[in-house]
């Protein structure tokens, strides 16, 4: 039953099809007039008038379809409303025909005789016929639109999933980094200090061993662990975005010269925006290194007074053809963050003239 009713509607109106249908319908209804009019200017005039008569309902209903699609304030997925719309259109149509006949009679002495006279039964039959015609005209259209909607939903879903993955990844990073900082690093520090405190009571030889042990612990704690903690989850409270980026670029120092410009406004961004900015730059630098390597990279972050932030990562590497821009993991991470930040990404690159990534996001 549901499938049966579903055949009748509702359908999304296609203004072009509707225009063509009504134009063809009215043109063919009166086209006999052209044949009956003697050849010459009179026949051309009759043709012109009939085209005009056919154009009016065609344009009117196409325009109505457009307006309905855009401004309809009732449900577009309700069959009853849809049938009411079509019925109203038919009633309007019933008003049009009686207006046309007197004109043709007066101008060309042409009597158009409707094959059947109007009654309620005829009206209902015509309505069903109209609904079927609309259904046949728009069936494939509806299918395509449904598929497109499904595809759009899937893309949205995929985007949301990817952003969720990024968020989960960040949560794990943060947990690990907090654990390493609060427990491992702190405990190493405490052990070192305890060793130091027993130094006074021991022999010279033991003191030397203790010194070496402390030095080793300290090296692990203040170099290796510190870098890992920073890489896992940067702490923007401590030194702001700039110092986090500076420690990020240290690992590229021997390969690329990285110049950074970060303005005051960008340091005031909230923690999610700071993290996104950091991650985008992290991947951008990685791309510049892997696909280049570039000799120089320029990174700038600017935030204007209304809170719009612009990240630019520009390099002088080999660049690439825009048509062949790869879609690697780095790009996926950047795209996910652009989504999370509600931003917009622009890539510009020309072979031999570098690569430039720009991301703009609102407050």
């Amino acid at each position: 039953m549901k499938r049966f009713l579903g055949f009748f509607g509702p359908y999304p109106y296609n203004p072009y099809l509707i225009f063509l249908f009504f134009f063809a319908f009215f043109f063919s209804r009166f086209v006999n007039l052209v044949a009956e009019t003697p050849a010459g200017p009179e026949r051309w005039r009759a043709g012109g008038v009939i085209i005009l008569i056919a154009l009016i309902p065609g344009s009117f209903f196409a325009l109505t379809a457009v307006l309905l699609q855009r401004y309809r304030f009732w449900s577009s997925s309700n069959l009853l409303f849809y049938v009411l719309e079509v019925t109203t259109a038919m009633l309007v149509l019933e008003l049009y025909s009686p207006m046309v006949n007197p004109i043709l009679e007066k101008m060309f002495d042409y009597h158009y005789v409707a094959p059947i006279s109007l009654s309620i039964n005829i009206f209902i039959a015509t309505l069903i016929l109209a609904l079927c015609t609309l259904a046949l005209m728009h069936k494939s259209e509806r299918k395509i639109i449904e598929r497109l909607e499904n595809a759009d939903n899937l893309v949205e879903q995929l985007k949301a999933d990817r952003e969720e993955l990024v968020n989960l990844d960040e949560a794990i990073r943060r947990q690990t980094s907090t654990f390493l900082h609060d427990r491992v690093q702190s405990d190493l520090m405490v052990v070192g200090m305890k060793l130091k405190s027993i130094q006074g009571t021991a022999s010279d030889e033991i003191n030397k061993v203790i010194d070496r042990a402390i030095a080793r612990l300290e090296n692990t704690r203040s170099a290796d662990l510190k870098n890992i903690i920073q890489a896992l989850s940067p702490n923007f409270d401590a030194g702001g975005l700039k110092s986090s980026i500076e420690s990020l670029i240290k690992q590229y120092e021997s390969n690329m010269a990285v110049l950074i410009q970060i303005d005051e406004g960008s340091e005031q961004l909230d923690s999610l925006n700071l993290l996104g900015t950091y991650r985008i730059i992290e991947q951008g630098l990685l791309n510049a290194f892997v696909h280049g390597p570039a000799k120089n990279v320029f990174v700038s972050v600017t935030t204007d007074s209304i809170g719009k932030t612009e990240i630019v990562i520009s390099d002088d590497g080999p660049g690439t053809d825009l048509d062949f821009v790869d879609s690697g993991v780095g790009t996926a991470v950047i795209d996910s963050w652009v989504g999370i930040l509600n931003g917009k990404k622009t890539v510009d690159t020309v072979p031999g003239h570098g690569y430039r990534l720009q991301v703009v996001f609102p407050q």
């Binding site: 907090t178 900082h181 609060d182 690093q185 702190s186 405990d187 190493l188 520090m189 405490v190 052990v191 070192g192 200090m193 305890k194 060793l195 130091k196 405190s197 402390i214 030095a215 612990l217 300290e218 704690r221 203040s222 510190k226 702490n235 409270d237 401590a238 030194g239 702001g240 700039k242 110092s243 500076e246 420690s247 110049l259 410009q261 340091e267 000799k295 120089n296 320029f298 700038s300 630019v312 520009s314 390099d315 002088d316 660049g319 510009d348 690159t349 020309v350 031999g352 003239h353 570098g354 690569y355 430039r356």
Partner: protein, 221 residues
Amino acid sequence: MRSTRLLYVENDSALRRILGEMLSQSKDLELIGSFANSDEVLNRTLVRKADVALIDFALDQNGLNGIELGIALRNINEYIGIVIYSQYSVSQMVNRVPKAMRSGWSFFDKSAEMALQDYVDIIKLTSSGKGNWEQVSAEEVESAEVQSSIYFQLTPRQRSIMSLSAQGKSAQDIAVQLDLSYSYVRKELSRSYAVLLPESSPSDDLKTAAVLKYMELMRMS
């Protein structure tokens, strides 16, 4: 001379005990309180009595960090010296302190290799208003870098157009060679001129000057 009265704030209980005991052994220091977080230490009478506070940067995650706590302490006692130590890099931390408030602030990296005297020295100096913040903070490097950044303000498309222009090609030739429209190339050229010569006036010979500037930048990079 009376000993320096010290407040100590550290959320790691083991470290707080060890370093606390160590600091109270010094004859030059009087440890008048050690605390785990910012809520405990914000006691007006105690803060007014203190000469200096030694604060860990990373305190309770939901509360103030060490620098915010230092600023809060300063608002209660404007003469108190603030020493921040951390396992995070301290080199940029001073930027988080308002400029007018920076004197009497010190920063150092946590280290198990420091002896008691090292702590005492930095704490006493800070309490007398001589913080080390100027030595710790990283130097700002400018100007020469700003110059070379101009090249990177050009998009790769603009760079490719400028490099053809530097070879003496006309906008028409460039459009044909790069498969772009003539008007687009003209637009990109004038945008490039605006980046390369920010202070030019319309009467100047923009093209020659811009090409010269571009070639100069290419030599630099």
